[in-house]
């Protein structure tokens, strides 16, 4: 390892008895695995139950869990991977699997296929862990990006809920305006819909999508311009919140702090697995709908996505055992019962059916929605290439400028394509 040779020299002088960080690699003897995920204590407690079940079934394998909250988690993982001290099983999500896989930090799961049965899992979700024809991740569950509505506010405004088998983006814009006009003051028709997922949907319905399979920018300037023109009109009419409120929302995205969570927004584009949190926060029977434009455009834009992926560290000393653990987590009924829908609706049909009876009312709504849209989703999502972790912030920056009228929609569109191309091209 040529990296950090300076500190190595220093270390060599100091450390006489160091250098035994790897676990004892004797085959046959007890193996200790490290397994990391992000999330709060409730998730940790559920996960620990699943791990206990695994250890009972495999007495020679001991599993140590490591967790932290989302942002902190990825800082720590990056540091550990850099120092060659990463856990054996690493939970990944969002755009990270491709960043890590594309740079060789994750194991090609073909090498451990003896321990891992992917055939029982939802195809679309499994494909999320596959890129450049290598399977890097196993989906923990599925998720979809839809629109959350607050029926109470629709009712208060006397506006009927839209028919999500028919509505268009123009309907969405009109309805948001009607709600603001008729609902009690302090209500907004919709939160600002600008997010990478939102423009993915919008452009995919037109046959574009943000990225092409070749890893280039696919979305056209015209499509983006239309998007920003729509959001600008909505903000000017008061259908969406003031610019400063939207910017504040982007900085603090915990469900409880969103306008939907506070019960003051009638519509919000959102991941389906946040429904429970939003419902609890708002205290209202929020519903999930298919997004506008699914049936009236060239194709459907919504997709099923792995909510999280279990991956194996490429430099794990125990890849077989790691794969065994993953297989247990996604396919064993005991693990399924312990984890429930905490990591998304299970991608394994058998598990999904097994836990159906134990779901609470919020989770039932979520499962029903996933089941409803699974039959209607578009071709699998094209994951962002290496470098696409920057897209979110690029979009937020440009959107701020649009919100404060510092830039025209057409220029915003061009700048987005420019900056994202640069981020994923380099």
């Amino acid at each position: 390892m040529t990296r950090l040779r300076f500190s190595m020299v220093v270390v060599a002088a100091l450390a006489i008895s160091a250098c035994s960080s790897g676990s004892s690699g004797d085959s046959g003897g007890p193996v200790e695995l490290r397994f990391s995920w992000w999330g709060n204590e409730q998730r940790a407690a559920a996960t620990q139950k699943a791990l206990d079940a695994f250890q009972n079934a495999n007495p020679t394998i001991k599993v140590k869990g490591e967790y932290a909250d989302f942002n902190a988690y990825f800082d720590r993982i990056a540091t550990q991977v850099a120092a060659n001290d990463a856990p054996d099983v690493i939970t990944m999500g969002g755009v990270y699997p491709r960043e890590y896989g594309g740079r060789g930090a994750l194991l090609d799961l073909k090498e451990v296929s003896g321990q891992l049965d992917l055939s029982t899992l939802d195809k679309a979700a499994v494909s999320n862990g596959n890129f450049d024809n290598v399977q890097y991740g196993v989906p923990t569950g599925v998720n979809t990006y839809g629109i959350v509505v607050n029926p109470a506010l629709f009712q208060a405004a006397g506006v009927p809920l839209p028919d999500d088998e028919k509505w268009s983006w123009a309907d969405y814009e009109r309805i948001a305006g009607e709600i603001v006009a008729k609902a009690p003051p302090g209500t907004v028709g919709s939160e600002d819909p600008t997010a990478p997922e939102g423009i993915e949907l919008f452009s995919k319905q037109l046959g574009e999508g943000v990225y092409s399979p070749e890893g280039k920018v696919a979305i056209s300037a015209g499509t983006l311009t239309r998007w920003f023109e729509m959001t600008t009109r909505m903000r000017n009419s008061g259908a969406t919140p003031k610019a400063t409120v939207t910017v504040e929302q982007a900085a603090l995205s915990a469900p409880e702090q969103t306008l939907m969570g506070k019960g003051t927004a009638a519509m919000r584009l959102e991941w389906s697995n946040r429904l429970t949190a939003l419902r609890t926060a708002s205290g209202k029977p929020l519903q999930l709908l298919r997004v506008p434009g699914e049936t009236v455009n060239k194709q459907a834009g919504m997709w099923l996505q792995a909510s999280q992926l279990y991956t194996v560290n490429a430099r794990s000393a125990h890849p077989q055992e790691a794969a065994k653990l993953i297989n247990f987590l996604v396919s064993d009924p005991a693990a399924g019962a312990a984890i429930g829908t905490d990591r998304g609706i299970p991608a394994n049909k058998k598990i999904r059916d097994a836990i159906a009876g134990s779901l609470n009312e919020h989770q039932k709504v979520e499962v029903a929605f996933i089941t409803k849209v699974s039959a209607k989703v578009s071709p699998a999502l094209v994951l962002g290439p290496v470098g696409s972790t920057d897209t979110l912030q690029i979009l937020q920056r440009i959107n701020s400028d649009v919100l404060f009228d510092k830039i025209k929609p057409a220029d915003a569109a061009r700048r987005f394509i420019d900056e994202v191309s640069k981020a994923i091209g380099g």
Binding site: N71, V245, E248, F404
Partner: protein
């Protein structure tokens, strides 16, 4: 950068200020010089003993990672793959990095506004609280409390309760019939609210000022009183001069700290520098490059540019200190 000024009259290595000797005492002087040589060697030996923990820490813990980051600044390093030597490319890339320029602008404005402001408030409060106010300990504690909170996860939420679109400040303004804006999120005010946040946490420099005020020996005040100096004169000619080393300390360290402002900016904007990079502090940008975009090589180069900038300003501070800082030794 220079060390704190050499002690006037003390033996300095570069040019021992031995008074010009009269010819008649040359032999005597030589003997004295031998003795002072011996003393000096003994002093140096003692110094290295006193510094032994520091030297060990420097060699064993501190210097390795610093040199490693210097090395990494000449590489392309994604964290996930071994670094690859690319010479000066990272440094060349900085020249055309628009966001780097933005972050420099944000950081300089912040440093030059918030540091003097915070120090002025801290010094004023320290002076006010030093003068036998009843309930001194109580006020001091109250004013220090915000500093305990400053780095916590909750500060983002708390600050929005103050300066958000629906925050306390706007509620108060509404009472006066003024329609406020969302201060934190507004491009024209976002940086300003972070300056306020920094001033709000003036507790640390205030405590250091208070400690400095306590350290001023009472004999100086007594002597001044005997000379008939009034309160203002004592303040002007005793308090302030004797406090200058502490003012200098706070200035240097607050400046070094302000150039590296991270936590508060990170939590308030969610790490984005929102709105549109108006709060993109230098270290926030560096963090985004290193951990967000997996460009640790470039981030290291950015860090070394920052080191040069901070070192230059610190050196300037030490240079100027010769004109206004008064040491007892």
């Amino acid at each position: 950068m220079t060390e704190p000024q050499a002690r006037p009259g003390a033996v300095s290595l570069a040019a021992p200020p031995v008074p010009a000797p009269a010819r008649a005492t040359v032999r005597h002087d030589a003997r004295r010089r031998r003795r002072s040589d011996r003393l000096r060697r003994r002093d140096a030996r003692a110094a290295y003993l006193f510094l032994a923990p520091w030297i060990v820490g420097m060699l064993a813990i501190t210097i390795g990672p610093i040199l490693a980051s210097l090395y990494l600044s000449f590489t392309s390093y994604s964290l996930l793959r071994p670094p690859r030597w690319i010479g000066l490319q990272n440094y060349v890339r900085m020249l055309s990095d628009q966001r780097l320029m933005t972050s420099l602008g944000v950081t300089f404005r912040y440093v030059f506004i918030s540091v003097p402001l915070q120090l002025a408030v801290a010094l004023a409060l320290a002076l006010l609280l030093n003068r036998g106010v009843r309930g001194l300990a109580f006020y001091r504690s109250v004013y220090y409390l915000p500093s305990l909170l400053a780095g916590s996860v909750s500060i983002a939420i708390l600050w929005r309760q103050m300066f958000g679109t629906d925050g306390l400040v706007n509620d108060l303004l509404a009472l006066l019939g003024i329609q406020g804006v969302g201060w934190i999120a507004h491009p024209d005010f976002a940086l300003g609210t972070l300056v306020v946040l920094n001033v709000w946490t003036f507790g640390a420099p205030m405590v250091i000022f208070l400690a400095g005020l306590r350290q001023i020996p009472t004999m100086y005040y007594e002597a001044a009183a005997i000379d008939g100096a009034g309160r203002w004169a004592r303040f002007r000619h005793v308090t302030i001069p004797l406090l200058t080393p502490i003012i200098f300390f706070n200035l240097v360290l607050q400046m070094i700290g302000a150039f590296q402002t991270f936590t508060q900016a990170f939590v308030v904007s969610g790490g984005t520098g929102a709105p549109s990079d108006r709060t993109l502090f230098y270290t926030l940008y560096l963090y985004q490059r290193g951990f967000g975009s997996f460009q640790m090589g470039y981030a290291s180069a950015l860090a070394w540019l920052l080191l040069l900038i901070i070192a230059a300003f610190t050196a300037l501070n030490f240079l100027l200190a010769k004109r206004w800082v008064f040491y007892g030794d």
